[in-house]
């Protein structure tokens, strides 16, 4: 009969996250297109939209080639929406697995976050390769800030997803409200426009949105001449930490109840 290892707590966590991660990969690759579709589909979408917009515009937007202006915006908003949507169903999705005492909802959340983030990393790499092949002039002044902004985006998207995920266990209707709330995000996060195009008196209606900050700061990081009018690194940091703290606190007090309904 099969022997069981005596594992440390951290080893159990890693094993479980790895197992769920593999499960996630397997369940995404059930049809002919397989896992590649998760990467190809956003790349095509981002690339086509940015390319067309770049062609139509012809020049640049506040010092950035319009193509790259769009690419950064699209990558960030897709990352945000993808992560929030998949994490917000993470707890319910793997409910049958909590029969194994080793599996806790947080393993499911972390595995799904890891999976989504890796998919997006491949999206970014593939776009980079395509730009390289098409001999687009890739210019990144501050790669470190770019990566850091992506990380912050991942952290606060996951946190928002966790809060929705817990809330839907108690009140299933929250899911519908989430869909409603997420819909305008695509348009108010500065994907198609820069905050600099908006009259200053309307800024307060837009600058609460952390995705807008992440997008604008990233454009600033890759092309400093773009400027960082109206957005602040400090706000993004505070929002990221606060949302993470809140998500962890909510998780800590409610996870046992959330899964026993």
């Amino acid at each position: 009969m099969a022997k069981v290892l005596h594992r440390s707590l951290s080893k159990i966590w890693l094993d479980v996250i790895y197992a769920i991660f593999l499960r996630e990969v397997k369940s995404k690759s059930s049809d002919r297109f397989g896992i590649a579709w998760s990467v190809v589909s956003p790349v095509v979408f981002i690339f086509m939209l940015s390319y067309l917009r770049g062609k139509m515009d012809g020049g640049d937007t506040h010092g950035i080639p319009t193509f790259f202006f769009m690419v950064y915006g699209m990558i960030f908003i897709q990352f945000f929406l993808g992560l929030v949507n998949s994490v917000s169903t993470a707890i319910k999705k793997h409910k049958p697995l909590y029969a194994f005492r080793q599996v806790q909802p947080i393993s499911s959340i972390l595995a799904i976050t890891l999976f989504e983030s890796l998919v997006k990393v491949f999206v970014i790499l593939l776009i980079g390769v395509i730009c390289f092949i098409l001999k687009f002039d890739i210019h990144i002044s501050d790669p470190f800030s770019l990566l850091l902004n992506l990380l912050k985006l991942a952290v606060f998207s996951m946190s928002i997803g966790v809060i929705f995920s817990l809330a839907t266990c108690y009140v299933p209707e929250i899911d519908k409200i989430k869909t409603l709330l997420m819909r305008p995000m695509f348009f108010i996060s500065g994907v198609f426009f820069s905050l600099q195009d908006v009259p200053q008196e309307y800024w307060p209606y837009l600058t609460w949105n952390p995705v807008l900050h992440a997008v604008e700061l990233t454009r600033y990081a890759v092309y400093p001449e773009y400027g960082n009018a109206g957005v602040s690194d400090f706000y993004l940091n505070v929002f990221t930490l606060t949302s993470l703290g809140l998500a962890l606190a909510c998780y800590h007090v409610s996870w046992k109840q959330a899964i026993s309904r």
Binding site: A2, K3, V4, L97, A99, F100
Partner: protein
């Protein structure tokens, strides 16, 4: 030895908290094969799931130094889009099986799925699914197996095999079992716990317990 300490479990409902257990303290004695008896809705499955760690009490805790299986008989954790082999490896990984390849072989052998083992579970019949999950559990070495009407899975041949495997386990491990089939309980268990109105009572003699249970 599995002990329950100040265990309280309730389900919130429109009519207020529905208590299943309130502040119970109880110890399952070691080395006994225990049947859990109780009428419908007495909380047998809830107790079962709390012991297994599949569900968490609102207050109190379950203490044990034994390795306890997950509740068998459910098609727990089996993903319909994954193959039998992938599901087996998943369960093995989660439970920390030392040698996954070896585990896989034993599961194929026990479940008698043959070629079907490499097809998605979606294509299995319900009997085959239960065979897979039963095989996954019984192949791992646990100190205590939690069995929920498990031997009713599969066809007659498999049921015999499952019974034999469980009876073999009786020497090296213990069984806690929930079943409405009294003859099955008599086959596997030697003592019983009666769950009645939120209270647990241990009986060293199964026959005696069944007598009392019938009169409840």
């Amino acid at each position: 030895m599995i002990s329950l300490e100040n265990l309280t479990k309730y389900y919130p409902s429109a009519a207020g908290k529905q208590f299943v257990f309130e502040d119970i303290n109880f110890t399952f004695p070691q080395g006994k094969n225990i049947a859990i008896l109780g009428s419908n809705g007495a909380g047998k499955s809830t107790l079962f799931r709390i012991i297994a760690g599949s569900e968490y009490p609102n207050r109190g805790q379950v203490r044990t130094e034994l390795s306890v299986s997950w509740p068998v008989a459910l098609t727990t954790g089996v993903h319909p889009l994954m193959t039998g082999r992938e599901n087996t490896r998943f369960i093995g990984r989660v439970n920390g099986v030392a040698n996954l390849d070896d585990y896989e072989k034993k599961v194929i052998e026990f479940s008698e799925l043959g070629e079907k083992f490499d097809l998605p579970v979606r294509t299995y019949s319900s009997g085959m699914r239960s065979r897979l999950s039963f095989a996954c559990c019984i192949t791992i070495d646990f100190d205590v197996y939690l069995i929920d009407e498990a031997t009713s899975v599969g066809d007659l041949k498999f049921r015999k095999k499952a019974k034999k495997a469980l009876l073999n386990k009786k020497n090296s491990a213990n069984i806690i079992m929930v079943s409405h089939d009294l003859s099955e309980l008599e086959l596997f268990c030697d003592s019983a716990v009666i769950l009645h109105e939120g209270q647990l009572e241990f009986y060293d003699n199964l026959e005696h317990a069944i007598d009392i249970y019938k009169r409840l």
